[in-house]
């Protein structure tokens, strides 16, 4: 795959690739090659700062923080991916269908989307999660997040669909007798692919944030190691007041780095679609400054090779 030229987008994509790699092979490396365990309790080593044996220190019960971080990345990313998938699928379905079908169907879907948009997501998530009581593990959490997070994306995709609605290729497909469903799946969705993939990325990150938030207050999957549950146990184990920064900084930092990467990609894509947002390279700016007609400061020399000898018109 060719990486886009915008450095912000490139850095963002590299960060995602890095975390995907960690989630994939990291647990094997730390557990089997480095001999660290995310769950072995060593009361003797409790609340130790970073050291050779425990590169990121230990928790209040003596578990290794690095091992937890690496093993936890798998759950956090999985929840993000599944929830992001559900969110994106729902938002594409509602947004594209509404934008394409128009009329009454669109009105109903738009009102539905807007209402779901204004009902605050986190409290809804908390309520549902508290009834579920951890049943079904991380998959349930992912599904709940996915089911509550779709309206933003749906609005955006509806707007994009409206702009494609009357393009020639859509009309052509309709003329050849393509069904509505066919137009949506074979014409509209493929041409929205770039937007869909960017919003999928956003949904993955948003879901990871939501999952961490849920676990942080003790809902969802606190007994499975994930970045959110690490933060929950750190908060409960008074890591803050005891100054155990190595316990709560790393999981939060991982979430933060992913958040920043998503921000970079978004910002970079804005720059690609609107070059004015970016300042021109210094070389170009310097040249423009040098070439600028001096105002009031110096005598301007007439262009040496004035192409015209005579006075012009009149």
């Amino acid at each position: 795959m060719k990486l886009p030229g915008n450095p912000k987008v490139r850095i963002g994509i590299c960060v995602f690739a890095f975390f995907a790699l960690v989630a994939l092979v990291g647990p094997y490396v730390v557990q089997n090659l480095m001999g660290l365990s995310p769950s072995d309790v060593h009361t003797a080593d409790a609340m130790q700062g970073p050291s050779g044996a425990h590169p990121l220190g230990t928790t209040a019960t003596g578990e290794d923080v690095l091992a937890q971080l690496v093993v936890g990345s798998r759950v956090s990313l999985l929840v993000g991916l599944v929830a992001g998938l559900v969110t994106t699928a729902l938002s594409v379905l509602v947004g594209v269908a509404g934008g394409y079908l128009g009329g009454r169907a669109d009105s109903v879907l738009t009102v539905l989307t807007n209402i779901c948009l204004v009902i605050p997501g986190m409290p809804l998530l908390i309520i549902i999660a508290s009834y579920v009581q951890g049943r079904g593990g991380w998959l349930t959490v992912a599904l709940i997040i996915g089911l509550t997070a779709w309206p933003w994306g749906a609005r955006q995709k509806r707007a994009q669909t409206l702009s494609l609605r009357h393009r020639d290729f859509v009309t052509a497909a309709e003329m050849t007798g393509e069904s509505r469903w066919g137009v949506i799946t074979r014409e509209l969705i493929p041409s929205l692919a770039p937007i869909i993939s960017v919003s999928f990325l956003g949904a993955v990150v948003g879901s990871m944030f939501a999952d961490a938030g849920l676990s942080f207050i003790g809902l969802g999957n606190i007994n499975i190691t994930s970045w959110g549950s690490m933060l929950y146990w750190a908060q409960n184990g008074s890591a803050l007041t005891r100054g155990a920064w190595w316990w709560f900084v790393p999981p939060g930092a991982c979430i933060a780095v992913i958040g920043v990467a998503a921000g970079l990609i978004n910002f970079g894509i804005d720059e690609i679609s609107n070059p004015r947002l970016r300042k021109p390279p210094k070389k170009v700016r310097d040249r423009a400054e040098a070439a600028k007609l001096r105002r009031r400061t110096e005598e301007r020399a007439e262009p040496a090779t004035a192409p015209k000898a005579q006075e012009a018109t009149s």
Partner: protein, 360 residues
Amino acid sequence: MAVPVINPAGAADAAPAPDGRRAGRAARLRSVRYIVRRLGFYACAAWIAVTLNFLIPRLMPGDPASALIAQMQQKQALSGDQVASIYRLFGTPGEPLWNQYVTYLGQVAHFDFGISVAYYPTPVWEVIRTGLPWTIGLVGLTAILSFLIGTAAGVVSGSRVGSRFDSVVTPASMFLGSLPYFWVALLLVMAFGVQLGWLPIGGGYDGDLVPSFSGPFLASVVSHGILPALTMVVSSLGGWLVGMRNMMVTTVSEDYVLLARAKGLSKGRVMFQYAARNAVLPSVAGFALTIGTVVSGQLLVEIVFAYPGVGYLLYQAVSSVDYPLMQALFLNVSLSVLAANFLADSVYGLIDPRARETRS
């Protein structure tokens, strides 16, 4: 100064030109219609929130009230009136859903949300009433503050892309905006509360003081509010800044801004009345939509700071399996957010004359 008046021979297209007074009344009518339409939308949203609140517990398999009672009794013993209150809230087994719904609506109308388990024997509504002002105060203050600061900074950086201000403040605020709220809260507690000891690490006011409008109490409220407010402002500033900056860049190249420059108007008037006044519209429209997100973030921040608002209450409710409190909190937070949304929407209708035209 003689002004040649040309007979409007070419005024054929001058639409049915109403006289001034009638035009004014028509505009007022449009504004009223806009507000009524938005009111209808939010009433509909409120009804859905209320119904959702009714349906979610009843979607559980079997008989929700008994299941919930069993679950709650694993944590603590429930008294007779608590059990009765739960049956009243979540439905007596066998009662038709429709009857339950009517009963439920009646309870909501009377602010009757049952008795809290976590704060037994205080009624739920009493518990929520103590928390709401803290949250509304903090959210209202920080949301407006971060909107104003972020937007103002966005005007500055957007009017001069690539300036020193822009190249420092924009990436920095974007970075801060990408961090999880509650983690920022943890870091601030760690730095200013635990390590430096400058500010209290939790609570809404000093526990030794009795709540009153006295100087020491208010000072303690302010000092306890600084870190939560800082967390919220720092985390939500970036969104407003980047949004406003990018919109400014787009707006500055609009013809009407160029025309304002051609008119020889002062730089300030061109920047504010022409560029920023238009560039801010999407931000204001977005403000209504982000209130829900801000409140969601605030709930988690309150938990970190043990701030006595609804977020902390929700945390208490979750950890002591207090379903009546949880349900009522969800309902109240949702309805408050909807009310705030409606206010923000009305402001938008005031500042964008075109909004009153479009239907939604």
